[in-house]
């Protein structure tokens, strides 16, 4: 249906580029320190991880959904794709009876855009269908971490809280274990069968929901083959006769050719996120750790490629091929891309559909296409797998049994698979009110565009998929891109494990993001970055390495 927050990396990617404190790749891929003592319970240590058989005991039984079969099944870690027309009249029901009791409860969730009023037609329709009564506390997604940190430190935590992995920085990761309840009594093993859509969430994603030795998070599954996509203006490339660059050097020389400040055209925006892919740099946070072929455990900033990627990005800035507003980090690169002021920009998977749909009416010539990520020397790239889930909804400790069951009913509804009435309601709202059907394709109207946004899709999701009934071709291209790129995918030693670092290391790596921004723009020297890396090692990085070594020895490697 539409860019569904569930599908692949679109959730994390919705975070505005403007306000990013965490690189989106890192958001998807890393930045999610997690948890617990091996097999511990509430009283146990808050850092560490749970894996293997200990983890399996905590997981819900997997019961595959039998609704719609994707035309493009998942391959190489990609999302699945639905490209054929759905018969809207013959949608099946995945939630035959209302599971909620109608008792009121509160959900806090990040929201990008302007939240609709409470009690709007969309929320009412969803509540009526799911048997719930939700009070939404929508908070600005761009500054959600600040809010979350304060709310978790208060004594009035909302009943259900959506926590994106990229916000698990500082001490917040540890707080998750302390403040949210073990859902095992409601979901472990066969108990999950009461909630068939939750049972159909893949076990890899559920495993990421283990915090502090207990199953606490209801996951939003993501495709491991999710990366930041370097998008280019295919229409302008064709018109100018540019061929798509195939190596780091080629990109630079193409960019110099394509830039004309006089004509107000620059080759690209800030390509740092793409550089991580080109040079094979791992994400930040727990997926940044890997045991190399030489048997040594290293963090991303210790990879030689880390500096190479930064140097390449700096070359782009130095050459003047990056739009000045991107250099100043002002405004929205996506708008400059659609306006033709930049020809390449990087964003997450969701921009492919988002920009296509946005420009379809006003700019019929506009064609957005994802560039294949090339290796720096023109060979095959090394692309590090994203974690199978990176956004969770959690239920506060001390919530009543009825509240928990209502919250799970809401999550179960939100996780309805493609091709069901529930999915349609969650993604499009009510027919006639929020959308109309034209030529068998649902099209949202203004009310739909303002009310059917975020909220319910954040609670849970089925296994990653792409489906855009209005632009089925985009869904196909997205899946194919992931499958092509997925062929170069490698998993880190920490893949598939929800790991929480000890809080004494919470701020160890916090300086790097700003340092990267400053270095590529010429406001810091290479020696400053090298200095930061050696400071990182001496002020805790080496000790953190020992901690990871022990953790991997105990839990086995994730790759």
């Amino acid at each position: 249906m539409t860019p569904n927050a569930a599908s692949a990396s679109s959730g994390p990617s919705r975070r505005s580029f403007l306000a990013s404190t965490a690189v989106a790749t890192a958001a998807v891929a890393g930045g999610m320190p997690l948890l617990s003592a091996c097999g511990g319970s509430d009283g146990g240590s808050r850092d560490g991880t749970t894996s293997g058989k200990d983890a399996d005991k905590l997981l819900p039984t997997f019961v595959a959904s039998a609704v719609a079969k994707p035309d493009l099944p998942s391959k190489n870690g990609s999302a699945a794709g639905y490209t054929s027309k759905v018969d809207l009249a013959a949608l099946s029901a995945s939630v035959p009876e209302k599971l909620g009791t109608g008792a009121p409860f509160k959900i806090m969730s990040p929201f990008w855009g302007s939240p609709p009023k409470a009690g709007n037609a969309y929320y009412k329709a969803l509540d009526a269908a799911a048997g719930t009564k939700v009070t939404w506390q929508n908070q600005d997604g761009n500054t959600y971490g600040e809010k979350l940190g304060a709310v978790l430190a208060s004594s009035s935590i909302p009943d259900m809280v959506v926590v994106p992995g990229w916000e698990l920085v500082g001490k917040i990761a540890n707080a998750v274990t302390a403040k949210f309840m073990d859902l095992g009594p409601y979901l472990a093993g066969d108990k999950v069968k009461k909630y068939p859509n939750l049972a159909a969430i893949p076990s890899d994603a559920w495993r990421m929901g283990i915090f502090g030795g207990a199953l606490r998070g209801i996951p939003m599954p993501g495709a491991p083959a999710s990366w930041i996509v370097p998008y280019y203006r295919k229409d302008i490339f064709d018109q100018k006769g540019y061929s798509v660059p195939k190596s780091a050097d080629e990109f630079l020389s193409w960019a110099k050719e394509a830039t004309s400040a006089k004509a107000k055209v620059w080759a690209c925006g800030d390509m740092n996120w793409t550089a991580w892919g080109i040079f094979g740099v791992r994400g930040s946070g727990t997926v940044g750790w890997d045991i190399g072929d030489d048997g040594k455990l290293t963090y991303r900033v210790e990879q030689p490629e880390y500096l190479e990627a930064l140097e390449w990005t700096r070359k782009l800035f130095d050459a003047g091929v990056v739009h000045p507003d991107d250099k100043a980090r002002s405004g929205d690169a996506g708008n400059r891309f659609t306006a033709g002021q930049i020809l390449v920009f990087n964003s997450d998977m969701s921009a492919w559909y988002g920009k296509t749909a946005e420009q379809a009416a006003s700019n019929p010539d506009f064609v957005i296409e994802g560039m294949d990520i090339f290796g720096a020397d023109g060979g095959d790239p090394t692309l590090w797998a994203s974690q199978p889930a990176g956004i969770w909804s959690l239920i506060r400790k001390g919530a009543s049994k009825e509240t928990v069951e209502n919250a799970l009913a809401a999550a179960n509804f939100a996780a309805a698979p493609y091709g069901t009435k529930e999915r349609m309601l969650v993604d499009y709202g009510v027919e006639g009110t929020h959308y109309t059907v034209k030529g068998g394709v649902p099209v949202k109207n203004d009310l739909g565009n303002s009310e059917v946004v975020n909220a319910w899709v954040m609670l849970a999701a089925p296994a990653a998929y792409f489906a855009h009934p209005d632009f089925p071709d985009v869904a196909r291209k997205q899946v194919e891109w992931q499958q092509r790129m997925g062929a170069f995918m490698k998993k880190t030693s920490t893949f598939g494990m929800n790991i929480v670092e000890p809080s004494r290391y919470a701020n160890l790596s916090s300086q790097f993001e700003q340092l990267e921004i400053d270095y590529v723009r010429g406001n810091k020297k290479l020696s400053d970055v090298q200095q930061a890396i050696s400071t990182w090692k001496s002020s805790g990085g080496d000790k953190l390495r020992d901690w990871y070594k022990e953790l991997i020895e105990k839990n086995g490697s994730g790759n």
């Binding site: 208060s154 540890n174 400040a261 000045p324 980090r329 002021q341 701020n507 700003q514 406001n523």
Partner: protein, 350 residues
């Protein structure tokens, strides 16, 4: 300070005629018709004063409550500067204070050893001095200019134009500057058309301090003239007429009449500004942080925000904030003393 009579260090009761406040009190007391001894000399019993001033006290009460609630109570939270505070260790952030370990002055010694802290301090001081020299005199000059405009219509329009930018948010101000002075802005495009390339004022770290001062002038200088205009309005026209009669020209009148009239206000604002020296702005710097790099844009306030809110290192951030506060108090006291030496009232007097 000595509005309460009898508070002299030597304990002697001052003669009523000498101490101004007492004289005022006497008048007030007489008005309220409080009988007896209270009216005699400086000593007015607390209860009497309470009853006499109850209307005034009631009026200030809401503000005092707000002040206590949002300024003084949170001050207590500064104790975390002496802890390794973890807000999540207990059921809520307040009780967490009682469960967090005490570390003495460790956060402060960490601060003194932190080069980033010194960078931020240096930027803050440089920006303060620049603002003092380049910003502070401008509203005074503007007020004099506006004051010399006779036609009310012209005056109103000019004032409105000058006030307007004050109501823009910093996001807007920065965006406007980006559109004009940025690498893809109007000036850069114009120069580009004439063969000069590479103009980009917004990402130049060396000029950043002048850039932000210019932004502050554009946004707030117009607003700053209000208080000076009020002071100018209070100058009796008799003085100007008398000076003119004596043959004083335009400049002499300004020098001998206008400026002396403004002097107490200037001194007061200067003292306040100096006391606030370490607060040079926040949003403005946060928004432009990445354009010029943290090295040029980090000031103490953004540093505290980054450490505390962004990184969750609350104790360290509290320590830096507390240090900033203590230095601020010292600056106010010093500047006030200086104002007294110049014969001005300053913020308060002894």
């Amino acid at each position: 300070m000595s509005l309460t009579a009898g508070s002299r260090p030597d304990g002697s009761r001052p003669p009523a005629a000498v101490e101004e406040p007492t004289a005022a009190v006497v008048t007030a007391v007489v008005k309220d018709r409080v009988p007896g001894k209270a009216g005699r000399a400086g000593k007015v019993p607390f209860r009497v004063r309470l009853r006499r001033d109850r209307a005034l006290i009631l009026m200030t009460l809401p503000v005092i409550v707000l002040l206590l609630l949002f300024n003084y109570v949170p001050l207590l939270g500064n104790v975390v500067a002496f802890q390794e505070y973890d807000p999540y260790v207990s059921t809520n952030g307040v009780t967490a204070i009682f469960h967090s370990p005490w570390v003495g002055v460790e956060q402060f010694s960490r601060m003194l050893d932190d080069p980033l802290f010194w960078d931020a301090t240096q930027n803050t001081i440089v920006l303060f001095l620049l603002q003092l020299v380049l910003f502070f005199p401008i509203p005074i000059a503007l007020a004099l200019v506006i004051n010399s405009v006779i036609r009310p219509r012209v005056r109103a329009v000019a004032q409105a134009i000058m006030y307007l930018p004050h109501f823009f948010s910093w996001v807007l101000v920065v965006t406007v500057f980006q559109q004009i002075f940025g690498g893809a802005g109007i000036i850069a495009q114009t120069l580009e058309q004439h063969g000069w390339s590479g103009f980009d004022l917004m990402t130049n770290a060396d000029l950043f301090k002048y850039l932000v001062t210019a932004q502050a002038v554009w946004k707030d200088a117009g607003w700053g003239i209000i208080v000076f205009l009020a002071a100018l309005a209070a100058v009796s026209t008799d003085l100007y007429e008398a000076a003119a009669m004596d043959g004083a020209g335009r400049w002499r009148r300004m020098w001998h009449v206008t400026l002396p009239a403004l002097r107490p206000v200037i001194a007061l604002l200067l003292v306040l500004r100096v006391g606030d020296a370490l607060s040079v702005g926040f949003e403005q710097f946060l928004l432009q942080r990445s354009a010029v790099g943290a090295g040029a844009s980090e000031v103490l306030d953004t540093y505290v925000w980054n450490m505390g809110i962004q990184n969750g290192d609350f104790s360290y951030a509290a320590a830096v904030g507390l240090a900033k506060g203590v230095i601020g108090v010292c600056l106010v006291l010093g500047a006030n003393k200086f104002a007294h030496l110049l014969g001005e009232q300053g913020v308060y007097k002894k």
